[in-house]
Amino acid sequence: FCFLHGFDAEGDLVGSLASMSTNERIKAIQKMPETMGKKREIRNKVLKEITKKSRHRGGQPSCCTQCLQGAAVSFRRFGNTLSEHFHQLRIWHKTLKIIGAEFGTSVLSYFVFLKWLLNFNLFSFLINFSFITIPQFLAAEPNNLSFTGLELFTGAGYFQQTVLYYGFYTNATISKVENGPSYNMQLAYIFTVGIYFVICFLILLFSMAKFFSRNFVNPQTFSVNASRLLCTWDFNITNEKAVKLKQKNLHTQIKEGLTEVNKEVLDFSAMEIVLRIAIHLFAWAASLGIAVAACTGVYFLSINNLELFMKGHRNDLESQSAMLVLPVVVSLLNTLIPFFFSWLGHLERFQTPGQHIYVTIIRNIILKMSIVGILCYYWLNIVAASESQCWETLVGQDIYRLVLVDFIFCLLGSFFGEFLRRIIGTTVWVSLGLPEFDIGRNVLDLIYAQTLTWIGILFSPLLPGIQMIAFFIVFFVKKVSLMRNCQPPRKVWRTAQMMTSFIFLLFCPSFLGVLSVIGVTVWRLKPSEECGPFRGLSSMYAAVSEWIQILESFTASKWVVWIYHNLISSELFFFILSTFVLIVTYIYCEIIRGRKTMTKLLQKQLNN
């Protein structure tokens, strides 16, 4: 900080500000901890100094420089107006404000996360619709199937011959006018999906890095009492009842903090330690066992499912509803097993409640990701190799059904978990009280739904649009349920660390898993012979290699071919890139370690 003691310090400040670029100067002035009047004064002095400097530099500024300066100012004003209009689009600002006001920042973070995921789906839907679906409409084949209402649930029937699924897209080069501009559907499909995933990867990587750098706190240096008192009062809460509740909670926590036995110095006898370890091992074995059992069940059920497909397209009610069995079972497993996990968690006695939460979340993630994994294995190994006409459309339909049933179960979960629980808690069993909004479980549901959507993009390009609508509805249902049925959370959530872990979970098992599935599909699997944009090729990627071969015959595009051969498909380049990344990471780790040692030394000096 620069505290302005004396006129000389101010003169120096003005001088240094005047020599910065416009953006830096504005940021520096905004950051100054002075009153508005003082900041305005300094700003005016700096502007005078700048005009003085430019005048000293070369007499009267020429017309050209004046024009440029005027242009720079109006450009900046235009940029501000543009960003303002984007800000106007901030949807749900009032809703988020109300939620934060009554329930605090931790519950608000769930809704902010949901809104953030919505952006991914919106972006995907827009680019898929513009680059893949709209051209397809120009070359569409007529749909001979009839529409019965059941298609909305099963995704089969009428929808099979629509733009919803991979199988409908043509492999031809579309051109409206003879010898006019043509549109290669194969390349469009693979490049649209590819570029979308690259952009998602970069966005997730940068968000994760930003959260990690801002929020990663060494747990040993966390001072519980001080920060509880001075750093955690939530200024967002502006509802009288909520404020009173938060004050009561803080009162309880402080009282507990004063009277508790120091938890780290609990002396256990050897027998008790062995017992605790045995209980932990048993709990982990039980959870992993249940996850494996669930996966096996899903696997055999899905093999059964495939036989149903292969039997033919009988459009009667029985076979259509039989297709819904697999998604319903998967969603039931995903809903009920977490209750078992949290019961297990109560059985084990953890040292801190934070450990309990993290262990439960890890177990849930293992369950959900292994179910998704086994389904992917089934799709990629069994369905793709089966004798069906169009396996990609079958996979797309499966994913559509899973997404839909998961959405319905999410709404049901809200109904039972919050509405009925409130009724029970206020009338029949009053000691239970109002339910709390279960942030962990809800965020994991979102991550699971988003994983399914990402996997489904390749097989059903409009799936993100459906998921977008689902997320919209979930937002409003959750918000209404929260306001009517729930009470503000009692324990203090370390919101920032939680959000970091959730984004990390979104990136690490979820997105990277999706990338590997898509990678295997594009590089290894043989597309179906009779449908889709890649029919007849040996793999989806073959479209790109064939295109590169065509480009080789044109001299104007030799650079594209060079980039392809030497950068994208050469192993040496990736080897060099990985080595470079590893070296940079190692250097950063060493710098961080060095800084930590420095901090410890300085701390010691201060204390002495």
Binding site: K39, R43, N44, R77, L96, V243, K255, L258, R494
Partner: protein, 187 residues
């Protein structure tokens, strides 16, 4: 550029945009919020820089502040003479620091001033006691309050002078990443 407004001159708006974290539209929206507190006191034309101050009672009755236990301290810290009566400049300054775009150091500086009840540039034990009482609605016994304050000073005081300086406070804030999202008022 944009809608013609007659409340501020273009230069005044540019200065506000440079000195706060708000865009032009937000500044105008905040001006209307300020004016809605006392329409008869606040003129619609600020181009001649009228010296209008709203008393603390009106500021403290805003829905964003009325239930906050620290509303009086917030108003005092940001007001010109430390009495809680705020001009439009102070009002904009306050919400700018409390917005989500303000950096951590700036927020830490003002949070320190808010918790420093006796304005001596240190958070001493009596300041902490007042903070605890505000946070728990005076429901703890004086012995408990005293114990908690001693614990806080023990944990956070790095230079061992029995009170928290701004540096101690900032050191603590760095290790509490939630601070940025909790020291935030949406308007």
């Amino acid at each position: 550029m944009g809608n013609k407004q007659t409340i501020f001159t273009q230069e005044q708006l540019d200065a506000y945009q440079d000195c706060t974290f708000f865009t032009r539209k937000e500044i105008l929206r905040l001006f209307h919020r300020y004016r809605d507190l006392a329409p008869q006191l606040v003129p619609l034309d600020y181009s001649d820089k009228p010296a209008v101050t709203l008393p603390y009672e009106l500021i403290g009755s805003m829905p964003e502040l009325k239930d906050n236990p620290f509303r009086q301290r917030i108003a005092e810290v940001f007001s010109e003479h430390g009495d809680g009566n705020m001009t439009l400049d102070d009002f904009l300054d306050m919400f700018s620091v409390l917005s989500e775009m303000a950096p951590r150091d700036l927020k830490a500086y003002y949070a320190f001033k808010i918790y420093d009840f006796n304005n001596d540039d240190y958070i001493c034990k009596s300041d902490l006691e007042k903070t605890v009482n505000k946070l728990t609605r005076n429901e703890l016994t004086p012995e408990e309050v005293s114990l908690v304050c001693e614990k806080v000073i023990y944990e956070a005081d790095a230079d061992n002078d029995g009170k928290l300086s701004l540096a101690d406070f900032q050191h603590m804030i760095i290790r509490a990443p939630d601070f940025l999202s909790t020291f935030h008022i949406r308007i």
